[in-house]
Symmetry: C2
Subunit: 293 residues, 2 copies
């Protein structure tokens, strides 16, 4: 795999996502202006766009034209962005820094941040309903399940309950499968749904997505423990300060990195049958595990 080539593919994807999100979000001049301004602030101009890139990479594997995947790619990013805005609120993780800038409720106010999150979620489903993919109804159902109380929002609820508790590894995993894993899995599957895949192929992609989702979270924990706030663009060392159970607190940093590597290899093995079509997803797996922020 040519890394320069992947970098340039990922960069192009990020630009396209940014530009489409810019078009899809109402202009700040549209009433209510402050809300629309805050929505744009919370979505545009930052972020690694891991989830949209996963959707695009899975779409490429499934032979879907990338134009057809773009609405799905943007919808998962909007769900992700809404979750960050709500998770940062004082009643939740109470964070003031995100992507190197003040969080939405700090820059605007709490009520606006609440409505930003609510509106971004609605917009995600509005956009997915406009997807040209045949399976868009199944895609909407999948995204809704991944976002809701048995998915991402449920994971955040378990996370909040776990503060100060001694979770075992399986419980920690049960939390992350929901909190981060569900939306990463949905990103991969939504991309695949835009093309043609057999049931067996979808099963392999599902396994890939689960492994990558978990690896993503393990690395997140390592980075939170080992990186600086400047590098992360969000408050570092927060898990320890908040007394949150993490892979690092349970396993230590070295065993956590080893675990991420094992998950990475399991993810790669799931892609073996796809040959060269899996090139971008392999690149994404690498990107997720090697990232520094």
């Amino acid at each position: 795999m040519n890394n320069d080539d992947f970098q340039s593919w990922a960069h192009r994807g990020q630009m396209r996502v940014e530009s489409m999100l810019d078009r899809l979000l109402p202009e700040s001049s549209v009433l209510p202006s402050r809300l629309h301004d805050a929505m744009r602030y919370s979505v545009l101009g930052g972020g690694k766009r891991v989830r949209p890139l996963l959707a695009l990479a899975a779409g490429e594997l499934a032979g879907a034209d990338s134009d057809r995947v773009m609405p799905a790619a943007c919808s998962v990013e909007l769900i992700h962005a809404y979750s960050l805005v709500h998770d940062d609120l004082p009643a939740m993780d109470d964070d003031v820094l995100r992507r190197g800038r003040p969080t939405c409720h700090v820059e605007y106010d709490e009520a606006t941040a609440l409505l930003v999150g609510d509106s971004l979620q609605s917009l995600a489903f509005e956009i997915l309903a406009s997807s040209p993919c045949k399976k868009r109804v199944e895609m909407i159902r999948l995204l809704a399940q991944a976002s809701g109380s048995r998915g991402m929002a449920g994971g955040q609820a378990i996370d909040l309950e776990s503060v100060g508790k001694n979770l075992e590894l399986p419980e920690l995993e049960a939390m992350h499968v929901r909190k981060t894993g569900a939306l990463i899995r949905a990103s991969v599957l939504l991309g695949a749904y835009c093309g043609e895949t057999s049931e067996a192929e979808l099963g392999a992609l599902d396994h890939f997505a689960k492994m990558i989702g978990l690896a993503f979270q393990v690395i997140d924990d390592v980075l939170d423990a080992e990186s600086s706030t400047a590098t992360l663009g969000k408050t570092a060392g927060k898990d320890k300060k908040d007394n949150k159970p993490t892979y690092v607190s349970l396993l230590g940093p070295a065993a956590s990195r080893k675990m991420a590597q094992d998950l990475f290899e399991s993810a790669l093995s799931a892609l073996e049958g796809f040959g060269n079509k899996a090139q971008r997803l392999l690149g994404m797996a690498d990107f997720v595990v090697q990232r520094q922020f």
Copy 2:
């Protein structure tokens, strides 16, 4: 129109909605338990179910079997329920009483209430994606637009900005068209989409829904000003205390009641061409304007 007959129809509808919502909401035993318990607390066992009844009534007008309308009817109620939970939060309207019981964040906590609202919104789209109606993709798009920043959430943003300001009547209307009107309009149109209607008929229903949505809000303002907390099941006199512009503060109670009556008559006139098929929607219009809580 036989009022006893309408009462019994509405009661049956409310029971069916309650029972389907009970089935659709995850059991409290499902992880995360506290979140699922709080979701059930916020949705079940109360409410007039005006929006689902409007969907069922419009479905009846369009010749749709009521079973086919039920998922859409439940989805609008879930959106409504999510908006109440978030609007009651301290950062928004800061209310402690709803449907005669402590609000969600009082009974549970703020973080849980946030996640309850988020999860109910996801669930609404999940359920609508499972609707058997042919036009379900258009229905999802309509519900998403009605809920988002150009609809209900946008109306709440304008409402928060308007506290202490002297709005003129057109500005007050622009707020309510979004805050209450958009979801009431969506409820009627979703029901109609489940059956067969011409473009002209949809136009008439759209006008009906707009008039009823506005009438609903005018009556809400009158009730807030004139009723007791015990009758309303939520804190009465809150608009005045919060220095919020309302129809009552702008027009006085008598002219507000007259306005509601005029809107009611305009709504009825939109249904003239439908003959007996409009029986339930006529009953709903009456229900909205005559209600005491």
